[in-house]
Symmetry: C2
Subunit: 327 residues, 2 copies
């Protein structure tokens, strides 16, 4: 191959897929990280991993079409996945929010076969943190903690300008204990941050209290908007309606986030904290400021708190981060 | 200078001083980290930083004498100091356990003038962690959390085989919150790990309960052994006597340590945890095992807990670590 062939022989476009519990976001970007095409598909709620992989391939194919390119012409496709990701093996296991996906499934191979290009896997929260570090709110910093406030509470770390994964399982800020012997967490343990601030835990608590006769419009609002879960939008509407239970649960979540993030900062003294996730992105600035206020009483070095910023890439952070998996 | 002069022109012996709230440990080591001389002096409880510096110089001079060397012949002297250490400026401030030492004091310059060799400063917990990593229990690992269970609860981090200091204040595991709105910590905040497990906090609580009529032999034992504080040895004796209050407070401390360390591990997924400090070293193996048992219910990846080890360098870890500050 001569040097003059190189530009056409080395494709510059890459794909990124963010696999979420409710939706699949796919994008195609150029070398400057501009989005040339995108697609959003619902995540299958029935079937198994192969069905999810098919839906992912369909979303990516649609995004590629919008970018006027075949998937096979992409330099590669990165995937941010929930569950336990083995990037080297190309497998995902224990993706408990996805249908029938507890055993290990060869996701990279399935997608490579469907798309005709190389596929790289990463942890969803890890790639979203990397995206904020490389392209988003974290760009000015060398160390940051990403906090993704959604169904659960995910955490990602950049230390010394590099992702920190520990032995592969780092970042579980949602399972830092903020109250020994406290509320039961969806993980089965007690007192975790996620037990107070995760959307799934808040929904379970709202339902229990509602069943016991506590008044709330949360479930009516979900029905009116044809949701079978309390989405971030439903929580927002309930707060706008002044719903007392929703307000109380979200206030508690903000306090818990402040405590947990402050504990993490006391341990790591990072330069910046970036707050994303479905609830984090939707609630935006007023809640960022409230979380900072809830952190301050627990910060050991309270004269110089870290910068606390909203995720700049919003809902697309995961898909952007997935594209960064392709060199 | 010819090459043959090099061995005598480049001294290989170094000094290390661990400045503690109650004692000053000084050692002189050779290039293989063997201790050739050591000395232990009490930390002055009156006067000011200059008096402490004089006591440090005296201890190091005695250690050098035992090693048959003049302090000025050492390649340098490292110091592990409490308080806020500015290594570049050679100053220490906010050393609140030392007499009259809140403002910044030029400790490196004072010692250099007294000893006639270069002086390097480091944070006491940081150097003790580095010592366990380089020479002690942490040698087989690339990432570790040092937990120093003493008057307070200090923490040190080695990540990717390098110390992690964040913006200079990392490692405050003692001020991770284990119980929102919980007990008042000596730092003034609420619910910190140190509020439950630090020796100073436990002594304050024991005294309050004793004043309210709760029976305990803790303070009698301290008097009998001529201590004005509840030292690690006094706590150990009280436990041996089956003292109920001491047992209850130490049990609570072990639970708190398990919770706090598990939270840190959930965030960082380090390979190893090394437990040192006055109480950690004195209580030894049975308490190491108890702390592990207290961690397990809170570990997110409980199928593969980190190695949890006792500090191998014992009381000398801080002084060893100080010698490592000299290249």
């Amino acid at each position: 191959m001569s040097e003059t062939d190189a530009p056409s022989a080395q494709p510059t476009l890459v794909g990124g897929i963010d696999l979420g519990g409710t939706k699949i976001e796919a994008i195609v970007t150029d070398a400057e990280h501009h989005v040339l095409g995108s697609a959003r598909h619902p995540t299958p709620t029935e079937g198994g991993p192969a069905d999810v992989a098919n839906a992912m391939a369909a979303a990516l194919t649609e995004a590629a079409k919008a970018a006027s390119v075949e998937p096979s012409q992409l330099r590669g496709v990165g995937v941010g996945s929930p569950g336990v990701v083995d990037a080297a093996a190309g497998t995902v296991s224990h993706a408990d929010n996805l249908p029938g996906w507890s055993a290990s499934f060869p996701l990279a191979a399935a997608l490579k076969s469907a798309l005709g290009t190389k596929v790289a896997l990463g942890n969803d929260v890890g790639v979203a943190t990397a995206a904020e570090f490389e392209l988003g709110a974290g760009r000015p910093y060398h160390s940051l903690l990403g906090v993704f406030w959604g169904t659960g509470i995910g955490g990602g770390l950049i230390l010394d300008s590099k992702p920190w994964h520990g032995r592969g399982g780092a970042g579980e800020i949602g399972h830092m204990v903020i109250r020994e012997g406290g509320r039961r967490c969806p993980c089965g343990r007690r007192g975790c941050l996620e037990a107070y601030a995760g959307r799934a835990a808040m929904e379970a608590r709202a339902r229990r209290l509602h069943d016991r006769g506590v008044k709330t419009r949360l479930f009516e609002l979900a029905q009116e908007h044809d949701r079978d879960r309390l989405t971030s939008g439903i929580w927002e509407r309930a707060l706008e309606h002044g719903d007392r239970l929703a307000t109380k649960l979200i206030d508690r979540a903000v306090d818990a986030l402040g405590t947990g993030i402050a504990s993490a900062v006391n341990l790591l003294d990072v330069e910046a904290v970036v707050i994303g996730g479905g609830l984090g992105v939707r609630f935006g600035e007023p809640y960022r400021a409230r979380i900072v206020a809830a952190m301050l009483p627990h910060l050991f070095n309270d004269s110089r708190p870290p910068a606390v910023l909203l995720a700049a890439l919003g809902d697309l952070g995961g898909a952007y981060g997935a594209t960064l998996l392709i060199d």
